[in-house]
Symmetry: C2
Subunit: 158 residues, 2 copies
């Protein structure tokens, strides 16, 4: 499951994949977003071997996505809680969930995202805050920021 | 780089990862979104071995994310073009790009997304279309859709 590091590539997408490009890793983050904190809960939820889960949790702690802390003062057992950096992965998972809802051959979307304070369904869409238009209505291009040291060396940074 | 299939898991995120959970695969999709269509262009852009790229392209064609077609009528060489299903991955890549821009240790964001017709910078944010609120201001929960056959079997579907 390990792959060559992409972290030298001058591209924010490649950098993100270098942290969360492993499928199990993103599923750990998904579970953490749903409130899972304990090793055994992750293992039960994901059905992965202990060693695999240990590695993924350690990588996520090393990358600052999860914080590992004792379940209570002085306890030896740990819990794993998303940091700000980890919670910021929410849009990635929302985008994946929506794509799967649309394109996976599931009989029905397994979950609906809701506002947890009101329990109202959410209808999340990428919108350009400047123009108010939805991403789906925009032809997106990119401007390569030439003050970025090695941008010019890559024909398809991003 | 291959992993156990996740496609039996009743979760839209897992289903998405089953198609695009490999980092190279998402980088191929990224390049395709930027207009890359030819094998050699992908190879040059990504710097990956021919065999690896061949496998990724074939998988993406098999999954209906890319369409393979002759570069011109009767030609033997192919080009690879995103299908509707493939273009629908744009939000996943936008979300990854934004996370990398925020959290990767790059000196500056390598690219800025623009409206390709006006060349204006885009400020893309997930918004709940019903309430108009930004995702970052919402505490998101989930409702498990019990009419989904095996939803109840998984403690952390999504």
């Amino acid at each position: 499951m390990r792959r060559a590091s992409l972290d030298s590539v001058n591209c924010s997408i490649a950098q993100t994949l270098d942290v969360v490009g492993d499928p199990w890793t993103l599923l750990v983050v998904r579970d953490a977003l749903w409130g899972v904190t304990r090793f055994d809960e992750f293992r039960r939820s994901l059905g992965i071997p202990r060693a695999t889960l240990s590695t993924r949790l350690r990588d996520l702690v090393d990358h600052g996505v999860l914080e590992q802390r004792p379940i209570e003062e002085g306890a030896t057992r740990s819990e794993y809680v998303l940091t700000r950096k980890g919670r910021d992965l929410r849009p990635v998972l929302v985008a994946m969930l929506q794509w799967g809802d649309t394109w996976a051959e599931l009989p029905t979307p397994p979950v609906t995202l809701v506002d947890s304070t009101t329990n109202e369904s959410l209808d999340l869409t990428y919108v350009d805050q400047t123009s108010g238009r939805a991403l789906r209505d925009i032809a997106v291009g990119r401007r390569i920021n030439t003050h970025s040291a090695s941008a010019a060396e890559h024909s398809a940074t991003g």
